[in-house]
Subunit: 282 residues, 2 copies
């Protein structure tokens, strides 16, 4: 079925802003999937279609949904991917770089003219086996989104607060550490913000939840028009972006794959934002 | 060194209210430990001293402090303990029952006249091997404090939200599920409240943190004079009690054993309460 980091990020962000997708698919990519993404307001000019099959992944989750085992990963057309931005994308103000080789993330960053806010995601493989390249890449970012075990690995430090200090010294002024069902922590030099995870009645499928978090986070900030080139982003905007990220991640888990986004409305998104407020304020 | 659930609970609660201790120690219990507890305003009339040695426990923590292995448990004088309340204790309005055989918790409850608010703690052994007795005991409680894995075990349900619903049907109108470094969740029929754990720079020794949470929770409610016999406790009071519980648990981890309570002041407690507000509001 339809999936992949880019898909989840674009769908989640689409509730807050228009999204310009950069990616690659094969000849097997279904017309209904193009239509679904376009119907959510995504610009698909940067979605290359090439000879071969689309990237494929399958996995098996543990009973408590906290661990998963990869059953199969076929890179297919993703193996030779060299992202090229359409001219219309290059002057966009906001850039989110999904998890891919750090060199490719850097090359996309370099194709942009006057981007205001840039950040992205990475994973354990790039941290352990491509460390120098990764450090060079994130040094140019405003924010880094990363999960807790990867933050510990990147910093070489098990205490999250000390790990965050070390990562903030690597370049990004803003760091979001994702903690799965336990929520997320936002770190900036001046303050940190902790949000617990939303308590779902049932976690149906957590695939893509972290990507939806990223989409909600950057989508909200883009929708607000924040401009860190003109001074620090107000901390309250970053906090709200973390909440919207959490909201989008929580919806993602409610149905299989991307299915929740076929019916989800902006009103439901805002209702859940209010629920977060109601169950955390004192 | 000085330890045990009763000690941690009494020390944490002593920042909010006077505490009447019920417990048993052996001939080896040091005068300086009596003096420390009495110096923090605890009434020791109910602390029995009998022939033999005091309960002893030692354990080894994993590097990330999230798991521990018991090295030694000597019940000693605790094995034959039958708690008897001094007359002066029986009319107290607030009762916290530490983790012990459910029958003993019930016998202490039965010795009280006109208690307003009663609750307590339990553990996996009583849930799995003394279930009927435990259910009879907690049916008489206003609140139950329990950790997440034990909540799942008690309810026979892995989803915390559904587990909480089942536990609230067993008697207690209020449930607090403790999640270690990830914080705690308060459940009542009308609403729930989630608080993340305090981000310590260093966790020196987590022993007793859950008990300090309990002490801060009941201590704050007692200090406020809440009276659920006259109507529901305001949710905001329960929420603040959970924060004060979290505050006391966080301080507990900063030094070895009970040492942090030798210097901790009420002003520091209130400062950390404000820190919780600052790093969770949006």
């Amino acid at each position: 079925m339809l999936g992949g980091a880019c898909t989840y990020i674009a769908l989640a962000a689409s509730y807050f802003t228009r999204v310009n997708i950069v990616g690659v698919v094969g000849e097997d990519f279904a017309q209904r999937d193009y239509d679904f993404l376009a119907g959510r307001g995504s610009d698909l000019a940067g979605l290359e279609r090439v000879k071969g099959k689309t990237f494929f992944w399958s996995g098996l989750y543990s009973a408590d949904m906290n661990d998963r085992t990869t059953l199969r990963t076929d890179l297919n057309v993703f193996a030779g991917f060299e992202p090229k931005l359409p001219a219309s994308y290059r002057s966009q103000p906001y850039l989110l770089l999904g998890n891919i080789q750090p060199e490719l993330q850097r090359s996309v960053r370099a194709q942009m003219n006057g981007v205001r806010l840039v950040g992205g995601d990475t994973m354990n493989y790039w941290i352990s086996d491509h460390r120098e390249n990764l450090l060079k890449t994130i040094a140019e970012w405003d924010f880094l989104l990363i999960n807790d075990s990867e933050a510990r690995m990147l910093a070489g430090e098990s205490n999250l607060r000390r790990a965050a200090e070390k990562i903030l010294a690597m370049g990004p002024h803003t760091l979001v550490i994702k903690r799965g069902e336990y929520g997320a922590i936002l770190f900036r030099e001046d303050a940190h913000f902790i949000v617990p995870g939303y308590l779902l009645q049932q976690v149906f499928d957590p695939t893509g939840a972290g990507d939806c978090f990223a989409g909600g986070f950057i989508g909200y900030l883009a929708g607000q028009g924040v401009n860190p080139r003109e001074g620090r982003i107000p901390h309250v905007d970053l906090r709200r972006a973390v909440i919207y990220g959490s909201v989008m991640g929580s919806f993602c888990c409610e149905k299989f794959g991307v299915d929740r986004f076929r019916t989800l409305t902006r009103a439901e998104v805002d209702e859940r934002y209010q629920e977060f407020k109601a169950c955390t304020e004192f």
